[in-house]
């Protein structure tokens, strides 16, 4: 620990004798695991993702849900619009055309 003193501060401080005595008994130092334990406690209490800003970590599910909704909307909008339904009139017209073609084929064949 640094120990700076300005000139003439001895009278205002503890004095050289007491300072010398107290300097022999420095305060305890933090244990080696202190930083790691503090960070672990922070993660537990705050639920912070490592290296991610808090606001981004908290809102990521909102961002993901929004993006998924937009994608689903776009896919619905862009889906093929051709109908698979065929009306009765179209079926009868096609059958009539087949019958007519068959008759034409028979006439040309002289049947």
């Amino acid at each position: 620990m640094e120990m700076k003193r300005s000139k003439g501060s001895e009278q205002e401080g503890l004095g050289p004798e007491l300072e010398g005595l107290l300097a022999k008994v420095p305060p305890p130092r933090a244990p080696a695991w202190f930083a790691a334990k503090t960070l672990a406690r922070l993660r537990k209490e705050e639920g912070v993702a490592m290296g991610k800003p808090i606001w981004l970590a908290g809102w990521r599910w909102v961002w993901a849900a929004g993006a998924a909704a937009l994608m689903a909307g776009w896919m619905l909008w862009e889906r093929p619009k051709t109908s698979l339904e065929i009306s009765d009139a179209e079926v009868f017209a096609a059958l009539d055309a087949l019958v007519q073609q068959d008759e034409d084929n028979r006439w040309w064949a002289g049947l």
């Binding site: 401080g13 503890l14 004095g15 022999k24 305060p27 244990p31 503090t38 606001w55």
Partner: protein, 198 residues
């Protein structure tokens, strides 16, 4: 590389949720914070560790509103002071209700056993060092809270009186007055060791 980043810059990074910056800040100031808490609370171990952790968690949470108006260490020690004073007040209230704490002496013992013995000391020297350590710890612990903080910040953190005044929220005269009274008390309590060291 790490040493080049100032505390204020680290606080800016912490504001954006940077845990690595927070780790650097903790490692830079952990001894200062832990030592001050230990001296103020009068011991070491789980309680000191918990309060010191509280200090850093408060730093993390206050990063968003932190403004570098004073030196970072001044602000940090103000956080330490506030937390320690709150905790000791709570402890005093608890003692009023529960009566004297029966583990006080044990706590004193753990202080003595925590500080590592510098290498190369003979058992006899180690014993006299432990005696001195105990005497200094006890003398400091018996000082009123404000005096203890002023002595610690001046003696072990090397702070100027103006800076101590900002931390304690007192005028320069009041801080010097506290220091004077602390010096007189410590001189009386440690007179035996002072004369022995002459």
């Amino acid at each position: 590389m790490v040493a080049e980043v100032s505390d204020e810059e680290l606080m800016g990074q912490i504001r954006n949720g940077d845990e690595e910056a927070f780790r650097i800040l903790i490692e830079r100031h952990q001894d200062r914070v832990y030592g001050t808490v230990a001296r103020m609370v009068g011991g070491s171990g789980p309680e000191v560790e918990e309060i010191a952790q509280d200090v850093f968690l408060r730093v993390w949470r206050a990063a968003a509103t932190y403004r570098a108006e004073a030196k970072f260490t001044t602000w940090l020690m103000t956080v330490v002071r506030n937390l320690v004073f709150t905790r000791t007040a709570q402890r005093a209230r608890r003692k009023d209700i529960d009566g004297p704490d029966p583990v006080d002496e044990e706590t004193g013992e753990s202080v003595m056993t925590h500080t590592p013995d510098p290498a190369g000391r003979t058992p006899r020297e180690a014993l006299s060092f432990r005696e001195l350590e105990r005497a200094v710890e006890e003398a400091c612990a018996e000082l009123p809270e404000n005096q203890r903080l002023v002595v610690h910040l001046r003696q072990y953190e090397g702070m100027e009186f103006e800076e101590i005044g900002k931390i304690t929220g007192m005028s320069l005269t009041a801080v010097k007055s506290l220091m004077f009274r602390a010096r007189e008390t410590l001189k009386k309590k440690l007179s035996r060791y002072l004369s022995a060291s002459n």
